[in-house]
């Protein structure tokens, strides 16, 4: 083997390894989703949280493998193994990495509709989103249609530069959050959540689980953003540190604005991470800190408005967290990405607004149609009796702590 072949092979190996590393990091975020939800619901719905996240992941894998990924990128894996191995399985590793993003959609929704949604219909809704809706928008931004995100797509022609979403503030998080909103509205609040117009927050199960979930998400997020470079040779320390600074910005802002509230500081860190995805490759670190601070404030304020003023029972606050902070991230890339604000340039606020707007429209429409349809066909909400008993016993016939008292 000569030198240039050796180097090429090493580059390829490095790229495959890099993507697998990233994919596994984001895979571990799904354990984070599970614990975040398990900590935030009541004890009687804890088993359901774990089972749902793992089932959603599994179904997502199958539909994204056979349908979603081929749809978004025009690459199918129903080809001979020799072909799959041709590039040391780089395409497969790429699929794995992007699957971990796609599978966030049902995981995000799950937290909003917890404690009263049916298990079966939610799995189906998740499959539809991961198999069709998400890949559609993905194809527009990152994939083969490129109308919004392609360097020579329609938007690039229209606004000068394409929509920029480096690691999915919009493609993943805003999409998930805005798909969740119709689901939450159609389902209505949990029994006892609002009594005679009075808000009666239902106590959560466990701050330690909530914290564990958050840590798993925070840790894995560095895979989410860093490996979004796509290949190791484009890895960037800037992406890592921007993610870091936005995360701590969100945490600190939430801490201050909530007066030391533990639930908010954890969610604030996540809000910062969600907002920084889009522009983490082009922000100056100081800008990333600011973007994160704003995201932390957004979550702290919007969650309270959503649940107390609008009386929308969004259990984990996924709409303000992923939906609004994600949209903010997309817009922020169109602000702090500009060179005069310290950014690396190559963005346009117009493109960003259009890209974000397209996401919201698609998500709201798709979410409404899918959940209305499923509701009409088979119902999406647990029966009153099942909801009172808790989905753990009603659906999975086991309690979170089977041994407890006798």
């Amino acid at each position: 083997m000569n030198l240039s072949q050796g180097l090429a092979q090493l580059v390829q190996s490095g790229n495959v390894f890099f993507l697998i590393w990233g994919a596994v990091m984001v895979f571990s975020m799904h354990a984070g989703f599970a614990f975040l939800e398990a900590g935030s619901v009541r004890k009687k719905n804890v088993v359901n949280a774990f089972t749902k996240i793992l089932s959603d992941w599994s179904v997502s894998t199958v539909v994204y493998f056979f349908i979603g990924f081929p749809l978004a990128y025009g690459i199918t894996f129903l080809t001979p193994i020799s072909q799959l191995l041709g590039d040391q399985g780089f395409n497969l590793a790429h699929f794995f990495f992007l699957l971990t993003f796609a599978a966030c959609i049902p995981a995000i929704i799950s937290g909003g509709i917890a404690e009263r949604a049916q298990f079966g219909t939610q799995i189906i809704a998740g499959a539809i989103f991961v198999g069709l809706i998400y890949p559609l928008y993905e194809a527009l931004v990152w994939g083969r249609f490129g109308i919004i995100g392609g360097v020579s797509g329609w938007l690039a022609n229209f606004a000068g530069v394409p929509f920029h979403d480096f690691a999915g503030s919009v493609v993943v998080h805003a999409m998930g959050g805005w798909l969740a909103l119709p689901a939450i509205l159609i389902l209505g609040p949990r029994l006892g959540r609002y009594l005679k117009g009075k808000s009666m927050p239902l106590p959560l199960h466990s701050i330690p689980y909530l914290s564990l979930g958050t840590w798993l998400l925070m840790i894995g997020w560095f895979g989410f953003n860093v490996a979004s470079a796509g290949v190791m040779t484009r890895v960037s320390g800037l992406v890592a540190v921007n993610s870091l600074l936005a995360m701590v910005g969100g945490a600190l802002a939430a801490l201050v604005f909530s007066k030391n509230d533990s639930v908010f500081i954890h969610n604030g860190a996540l809000a910062g991470l969600i907002a920084v995805c889009a522009g983490s490759d082009i922000f100056h670190p100081v800008a990333a800190l600011i973007v994160g601070i704003i995201a932390g404030i957004i979550f702290t304020k919007c969650f309270v408005i959503e649940t107390e003023v609008f009386k929308i029972d969004d259990v984990l606050g996924v709409w303000p967290l992923h939906g609004i902070a994600g949209a903010w991230g997309g817009i922020a890339a169109g602000i702090f990405g500009y060179e005069f604000l310290g950014g690396a340039g190559g963005v346009s606020i117009v493109s960003q607004l259009i890209g974000v707007g397209a996401c919201l429209v698609i998500a709201l429409i798709a979410g409404t149609i899918v959940y209305k349809f499923l509701d009409a066909i088979s119902g999406i909400r647990l029966s009153k009796r099942d909801e009172m008993l808790g989905s753990d016993l009603a659906v999975h016939r086991v309690k979170a702590y089977p041994e407890e008292l006798l």
Binding site: G192, M388, L389, L393, R397, V398, K399, P402, L405, L406
Partner: protein, 112 residues
Amino acid sequence: MIKIESIIRPQSFEAVKDALAEIGITGMTVIAVKGHGRQKGYTEVYKGHEYHINLLEKIKIEIVVSDEVADQVVDAIVKAAQTGEVGDGKIFLSDVKNVIRIRTGEKGPTAL
């Protein structure tokens, strides 16, 4: 003095507490218990093996009051905790000979 022990559904607890507060009762001791009665339970499956569970979560409230107000308290609890379905619970009344307030050492009804 009379001791009123009520076993109620956990979800009725807030309503009972409010009803008691309305009639001026605030002293009470609350215990998480499991109840067994006529109420149907549910099925639990553990690794492929089915069980029928009929120990259900209940809340027990213990209130000691002077004889005069006992009836009023019972009525308030019944009203607040009644759903009409099996499992609403029971109230047991029994005599208390004496009460001591630890803080002051006071004894008898005034210690309540």
